[in-house]
Amino acid sequence: MIKVLFFARLREQLSTDSLQILASENMTTELIRQQLANTDDLWAKVMSADSLLVAVNQQITDWSHSVNAGDEVAFFPPVTGG
């Protein structure tokens, strides 16, 4: 399984802070994004935002990063702390 987390505006828009998805061969951050976007119109809209960021195992990365079973993948908007 892959643990998927959502934060801030995404968490609110999707009414979801985490879910589990099945790992498959040759999985990438982009493929997970697309898989989630296919859920419905709301998910499609939220997951296609230009500003969307993704982290794998708590490290920000790009959309071609490979993802394996046991990984933690997080989606969130640009950060605004400080």
Binding site: Q58, P77, V79, G81, G82
Partner: protein
């Protein structure tokens, strides 16, 4: 020292912990507070969310990067999460060094990178409801300027 916490911090105590070493000629601190931010909407407070685990990891990496660039002795980074009211303290950055330029540069570097790299999100609570803050283009520009400056 890196802390992500709900509770307020006491600047006097943090200063004291930083300042007890005679090798350090310079102590620079930055405190960021909840203020009436952008568009004059009557901000009453903020709600601060973060990504537990990743936050601490990113802050450690930023600290390590600062230590690569400048001769620092002590570094303290404290960031609060949860609900904060207007005027409350959000973030404390404290740096000590034998050299004042290093202390200033590192302190500013740390807050600049915290703002663009650490997974915190601010939701503004105004009299007209709550609203997630947009990331500022000026902040990412500042981070980029650092990267240019430090690699040249």
């Amino acid at each position: 020292m890196i802390n992500v916490q709900q509770n307020d911090f006491i600047v006097a105590d943090e200063y004291q912990k930083l300042a007890d070493d005679n090798q350090d000629g310079a102590v620079v601190t930055f405190v960021g507070k909840v203020r009436d931010f952008n568009e004059g909407l009557g901000v009453q407070g903020l709600s601060l969310e973060h990504y537990p685990g990743m936050t601490e990891k990113v802050l450690s990496e930023i600290e390590a990067e600062a230590r690569d660039h400048w001769p620092l002795n002590k570094v303290t980074i404290i960031h609060r999460v949860g609900d904060l009211t207007l005027g409350e303290q959000i973030v404390f950055i404290g740096v000590t060094s034998p050299h004042r330029r290093a202390a200033f540069a590192a302190c500013e570097f740390l807050i600049d990178f915290l703002k663009t790299k650490a997974p915190f999100w601010k939701k503004e609570l105004t009299s007209e409801g709550s609203k997630w803050l947009e990331a500022k283009a000026s902040d990412s520009k500042i981070s980029q300027q650092w990267s240019t400056k430090l690699t040249n």
